[in-house]
């Protein structure tokens, strides 16, 4: 009886208008100052120099948290709302779809006006732990990053003035920003903060691999354990850059993957003047939830995990275009993995899947716009109600 009373109360309060959540998302503890602090089983451990890289029982790196429940929830609405694009056709979630590991399943993403981009949308799982954003690592903060695709011509193609005018003129957003920021006037920085707050809640740390890491060795199959041992072996050397617990060491690496047919060579981090040594270099991506985010690499060149894994075994520099003299990463060599070992690695990567903290996709948006179709057609049924 009590249960039904509770459910009734929850659904009534959300029936008309929009109220931002007063509770932190799952895995976040509400602490003094109305702030949400992430708590994880990895908090039981330490890491060398607090860098958050190591082995099975290593602490996580510093993370972005401490946002209020309201900021996180406002960010959730903004993230799904096509009001943020210039033509109101595209939301952040269009390229970072919850049902596709917060990527979009495409090799190259396209913008609000249908323009094809030159890189693959990266997954946002565990993005709150990253110190560098974008494939080429050009942003240092999620706040800085959030505005760039929104204002880029080939992406969401908006302008600051239009974005703020649209939000301010909306029936609901001014009140929601007031709840989240105690503000009368919506500012660009608040939009960035709210999107950052929401993205910091996209946490995946409870996979079967994690159960193994915390000591329950039956969590992985024999095949997956073999894969883990190939993965961290000094033949395959995957773990040297895709280092636990996040399966990234957050560095830039030049590995020399091919571009899709017809695409020009992408200089990545090396496009910046003075950074020529990093020509063709991209940020080492996390491998958590990697089974959900095909195709792979910065330009989505590889359709499957097997293909992506085989790339590393085909010889140092085998795909580097003629005339490109790249300073390839020293761990790119010729491990000569057997077909069986590639399968084992792939099986292990599958054990890194965990979507237990998938946030709720809003049923309605404050803007009154419909959710972009790519989200509604792909969305999986969530047990949650609003």
């Amino acid at each position: 009886m009590m249960l039904y009373a509770l459910l009734l109360a929850t659904s009534l309060s959300a029936a008309d208008g929009f109220n931002l959540s007063q509770s932190c998302p799952p895995s976040f503890e509400l602490v003094a100052g109305n702030r949400c602090k992430l708590v994880s089983r990895y908090d039981m451990y330490d890491s060398l120099q607090n860098k958050g890289v190591g082995g099975t029982q290593t602490a996580l790196p510093a993370r972005r948290d401490g946002f209020s429940p309201q900021q996180i929830d406002l960010g959730r609405y903004l993230f799904f709302d096509p009001l943020l694009s210039g033509n109101h056709q595209q939301a952040c979630a269009s390229c970072h779809q919850p049902a596709r590991g917060f990527a979009d399943g495409k090799a190259l993403s396209s913008g609000a006006n249908g323009q094809l981009g030159n890189r693959s949308a990266p997954s946002l799982w565990n993005v709150g732990f990253l110190k560098k954003l974008f494939w080429d690592g050009r942003s240092d903060t999620l706040e800085q990053q959030a505005l760039i695709p929104m204002l880029a011509e080939h992406e969401m193609a908006n302008t600051p003035a239009k974005l703020l005018a649209d939000l301010q003129a909306n029936n609901h957003y001014p009140a929601l920003f007031r709840q989240a920021f105690n503000t009368e006037r919506i500012e660009l920085s608040q939009v960035a903060t709210a999107l950052t707050a929401f993205q910091s809640s996209l946490v995946s740390l409870n996979s079967r691999y994690d159960h193994y890491a915390h000591g329950y060795h039956q969590a992985l199959t024999e095949q997956e354990i073999k894969g883990m041992n190939v993965f961290r072996s000094f033949v395959a050397r995957c773990a040297e850059c895709h280092t636990p617990p996040l399966f990234t060491n957050q560095q830039i690496a030049v590995i020399g993957t091919p571009e899709p047919d017809g695409m020009p060579f992408d200089a990545g981090a090396g496009a910046k003047p003075g950074w020529e040594k990093l020509r063709g270099g991209f940020k080492v991506p996390t491998l958590r939830n990697i089974a959900l985010t095909a195709p792979y690499m910065h330009s989505g060149r590889f359709a499957t995990l097997e293909e992506a894994t085989e790339f590393y075994s085909k010889g140092r520099g085998h795909a580097v275009p003629k005339g490109e003299d790249l300073l390839l990463h020293w761990h790119i060599w010729e491990p000569k993995l057997t077909a069986e070992e590639v399968q084992q690695i792939t099986a292990f990567l599958g054990s890194l899947t965990d979507e237990s903290l998938l946030p709720q996709t809003p049923k309605r948006l404050p803007s009154g716009l419909a959710l972009p179709t790519e989200i509604t057609t792909n969305s999986q049924t969530s047990g949650a109600t609003e």
Partner: protein, 497 residues
Amino acid sequence: MKKTTIALALLLPVAFFTGQYFSGPAMQAPSLTADVSFSGGAAASANAKKSVIDHGAVGQVHQVKPGQLIMDAVKAAQPGDVIQVFPGDYVETVYIDKDNIRLSGVIIDGKRPRLYGEERLNDAILYSGNNILIENFLITKYKGNGIMGQAGNNFEIRHNIIEDTGVYGIFPQLGINGLVEHNVISGIEDAAIYVGMSDHIHVANNEVFDSVAGIEIENSRHAVVENNFVHNNTGGILAFVTPGLPIKDTVDVIIRNNWISNNNTANFGAPGSMVAGIPAGTGILIMAADEVIIEDNIIIGNKTAGIIITDHQNAPNTTLDPESDPTPDKVMILNNLMYNNGYDTIAEAKVLLATEFKQGQPDIIRVGNSNGSCINNPQQYITVGVSKWPACSFTNTDSVVNYLLEEPAAPRTVAADEKGKYVYLGVCTGCHAYTGRLIGPPVQVIQSLYMDEPQALADYILNPMKKRDDYPAMPKQDYLDAETRLAVAEYMLKVGN
């Protein structure tokens, strides 16, 4: 930190006991008595060697004999256990993702257990646990590493023979407080001993030869490398900052009392590897590392130079990393015996000699910048690039016995209540909100059902039964151990929002 004292004489009884066997029935293992130190002589009583590992009470002893798998014993072992491996061949990869395991080869009639990779297996031994001891093995014909650690603290790797085994012989990475001693390693295509991104390390009394690099200290701090016999490699001892790694510096390294001779082997490192750029005939190579002391080494017959000091700009194969300082600062060269080095040196060195109007065979070459460095009695060496270095303010490192921790690095202590909180927030809240429906029923409802019965709740989550038609069945939480299940149940029943 307070310095501990090692009496070298004390190492002898250790070696004696670990190699001991009894004259009774064949294949008997040594008994696991506590180490007993020599009590005679003139040593002061404070000269005690501290153990890197706080072993505590010895748990179960698992014996592994030929035909059995070492890995089966590792799977069965609990923290504190000892795994004794008898002489014979073992063709497997041993991985230890547990704490406090002593993996101990048993040597009988001079025969030790051989880990044999058949040129097919990747690594011989991988560990990620803390307090791991690995001793007395012969490791050969693996493709990857002989012994590789990932983030284990307080490790001891000793008395192993590693031959012709892939990329690194012994490679502890991302660990604190470790001892690598009395190993004999050869035929390695990168570094025979490679300490990567680790702090408080002691590498002593090893023989490393016929490898590309003998001993490499990379992106690590507080390391002593002493009393090693380093010969016939391409490069002898390296102290490196490799750019592009998550740990950015190498600081506070003492290289002393090593015998570093005839490291003239042609470079057979993998293309693109950092060591592939080392000129054959390099005794000691300092790249971008800071506060490196080089003292009382015997450095002879290294044809390019006895010591090379370089920054990143002048080193091949180094990438750009704006977060790592490319300059080797505060290099301190004390007295060393250097003789017959640089007799077939590289063209760059000859050019540098010419710029200082010097001739001859260089003992020491410095290229690129270096700040705050010093050298004692430079007149005894033929040098390039250090003539403006002042004398150091000290003459020896006798005050430093080692840089190991006074006490083994302790794991973070986590109270049961705290553990319960981590699991409640890290796991349970994914399906259970405090109020309202998520995937499973609200925590408030669970609290009203279980009230003062945390054990019943702990039992339920181990083996849940479907109780409500309107909710999906709960998955088993059997990956949590009993203590953690109770801790999380207690936490869940008292949580307030």
